[in-house]
Subunit: 195 residues, 4 copies
C-alpha cells in the first residue's frame, strides 16, 4: 500500500474566522490528533496534500447565503500556522469543493504510485466527502478519517457518518479512526483487504 | 431561467433487478410523479438528460461488496421502458457517480443556455447528490427534487435531506418538491431569487 | 508493452462526403493498410478505440467556415462500414478534436493496463495530432502511424510530419510506419526503448 | 468582445537557460513587442493569464530526450523578470502543454466574461498551439499572435503558421499580428466578424 494524506480546507479564513459556516470551534477539537496524524505521514515519507479553497472574486458560489471568503491570492487561503506545509508537500488550490475538481491531483498521485487516500479536514459533509468520492471515482481506495474531520456541529458530523457507514462501496470507501488508519498503514495492508 | 432535467440511473439493472443496493422497491414509489415531471419538461421543450451508470468489466468499484452491474454495452444500462428517452433527449453514459465526471455534459448544457439544473433519480445519497454537487461546481443553480429521488430505504433518504437542507449554499443548492419545482419554473424565477 | 489503437474520425460524414475539409479522397489511400493494422490488433487481442466526431446542433465550431457535419445522433457519425467496430471495441463520441477531451478514455485505457497508444485516422494535423498530444499528456507512450493518417492534401500531411519529427519529446511521442509499429509491438518493446 | 491574453511558458528555465529546446535566443526576438502587447492589455484592464510549465520530479515527459526543467516549486518556473506578473494577473501552473489541461482556467475565463483568447509565448508548435486548440475546444474565439510566438528556429515557426493558416476553423481559430490584434480589439469586433 502507498497511502497519501489529503488535508482539506484547513486554511485561515475557515479555521480562524467565522466566515465559513461557523466551523472554527469544531475544527479546534480535531486539531491535536490531526497534528499527530500528519507527523506520522511525514515520518513515514508518504505524500501529504494540502487542498485549499481558492475562490474567485464575485464567484458564483457567493450568490447564495455563503459569505465571501477564501479568495484566491489572499492570506485567508493559507494553511493555518500550526500545520503549515513543508517544502515537499503538495499544495492544491481548488476552485470548488473537491480537491480533484479541475486540478491535476489525480495525475500527481498516480505518478507517486499512490493507491490509497486518507482524507481529513473540513467540512465532513461537503469538501471532505466530495474530495473522498472523487478520489474513489479516480480508482483510489479511500478512507475518511472520522476523528479528523469536522462539521459546523458535532451532531451533523455524527449523523453523516452514521448515514454513509454501511454501503456497498465498502471497503473501497470507508471510515476509520486515525488510530485504525495508522494500524492499517503499518500492517501494509490495502483498504480492500478483508479481515 | 432555462432549466434542464437530469434523470440519474433509472436503468434496468438498477430498477428492475436487486443488483444495485436493493433499491428497486423504493424506486417504484417515485416513478409516477417522475413520469409527470418528465412530461412537464417535455411539453415545455426544456432539455432532458438521462445519465446512466456505464461501468467497465472488472471495474475498480466492483472490488468491494458491490455486485457487478450496469456494464457498458449491456442491456442492463438501458433506461427503463416507461420513461424511455425520446430522439432529442441527451444520453450520458457515466463511468462513475456524477453525470459530469469525465463527460461533456457541462459544455452541452451551456451550449443550450441552461442555467438551472433539476436532479432526480437514484440514489439520493450517491449519484443524485454527486451529480447535483458537480452541477453546482459548474455554476448551475441546482435543485434536488426530493420526492423524485430515492435511496435503498426511505428513512435514509429522509435523514439525508434533513442533514443537507439548511446550508449556506442555499439557495444555489436546494431541495424542492416536484410541485414546488414546477411552480418555480412556471414563474420563470431563477433558484436564487429571494422570495 | 500493452498497446491500444485509437482510430480517429473514420466516420461516414467525414469519409463518404465532402463536408469535412474535402478529405474523402486522401482517406481512401490510407484505408487498405489501416484495415490490415486493425486486423493485427484484433488478432492480438489488444484494445481498439473508435473516437468519432459527435458535434452539437448549432455547435460553436460551426460559427466559422466549417460546414455542419457529424451531428450527434445522426448516421453521419457512424464509423464507415468497411472498418465497422466489433462488440468489444471501445466507442468514444467526442465533442471536440481530441479523443480525450471531456471523455473517460484515459481511465478506460488505464483500467486495461495500456501503456502505449497508436493513433491513426483523420486529419493528421488536427484530430489525430490533438488526440496524440493528449495521450502523451496522460502519460501514454504515443505513436502517430504516419501511413495511416491523412490530411486534406498529401503535401500538408508530409510537411506536418517533417515539422514535428525531430523533437525533444522523442521517443515518448513519435512517428512510425504501420510496418515499424507492428515490428515494435511484436518485439514487445515499449516506445521508449532505445535501439 | 471581452479578450484575455494567455502568455505561455515565458519562465526562467525556458527563456534564460538552454534546457528547453534551445529556444532562448528566438524568445528574445519576440520580447519587445510582447512587452508592448501586455501593456496594451494592462491599460485596457483585460485579464492577463500567465500559464507556466510546472512539471513533476521524475515526470513521465522526461523519459525521452527532453532534459529535466521547470520542476514545480523551483525558481525556474517563475516568469522572467521583465514581464513579471502583477497582483491581479492570473497564474496557472500547468502540468502539461496546454494551459487548460487539468486546470480551472476555462471556468475562470467564463466567470470574467471572456469570449476571445489571444495566445502568445513559446513554443509555437507545442504549448502555444495546444493551449490555443484547447481554448477553441472550450468555445473561445482564439487567436495565436504570430509575431509574439517563437519556436526553437524561426524557420519552423514560419512553416507551422504556413501549414495551419488556411483551415475551415477560420476565423474561430486564426493567426494575427500583434498590430492586427490590437486593431481588432480597439474596434470591439469579435474574431468571427467577417470583414
Amino acid at each position: 500500500m502507498t497511502p497519501a494524506l489529503i488535508i482539506v480546507d484547513m486554511i485561515k479564513d475557515n479555521v480562524e474566522t467565522e466566515k465559513h459556516m461557523g466551523i472554527s470551534q469544531e475544527t479546534k477539537y480535531i486539531l491535536p490528533n490531526m497534528i499527530c496524524f500528519i507527523n506520522y505521514f511525514r515520518k513515514k515519507g508518504f505524500p501529504i496534500v494540502y487542498a485549499n479553497d481558492s475562490f474567485l472574486k464575485n464567484d458564483f458560489i457567493f450568490r447564495g447565503k455563503m459569505k465571501e471568503h477564501a479568495i484566491r491570492g489572499t492570506s485567508g487561503t493559507q494553511v493555518i500556522d500550526i500545520i503549515f506545509p513543508k517544502l515537499d508537500d503538495i499544495i492544491i488550490n481548488k476552485l470548488r469543493f473537491s480537491a480533484f475538481y479541475k486540478t491535476d491531483l489525480d495525475q500527481i498521485l498516480r505518478r507517486l504510485g499512490v493507491d490509497t487516500v486518507f482524507v481529513v479536514g473540513i467540512s465532513t459533509m461537503w469538501c471532505v466527502f466530495l474530495t473522498a468520492t472523487d478520489a474513489l471515482s479516480n480508482d483510489f481506495y479511500t478512507i475518511i478519517v472520522e476523528d479528523l474531520a469536522a462539521c459546523h456541529k458535532k451532531e451533523a458530523h455524527d449523523k453523516f457518518i452514521e448515514l454513509y457507514k454501511n454501503f456497498p462501496l465498502f471497503p473501497l470507501f470507508r471510515f476509520l479512526t486515525s488510530q485504525e488508519s495508522m494500524d492499517m498503514i503499518s500492517k501494509g495492508k490495502n483498504a480492500y483487504t478483508p479481515g
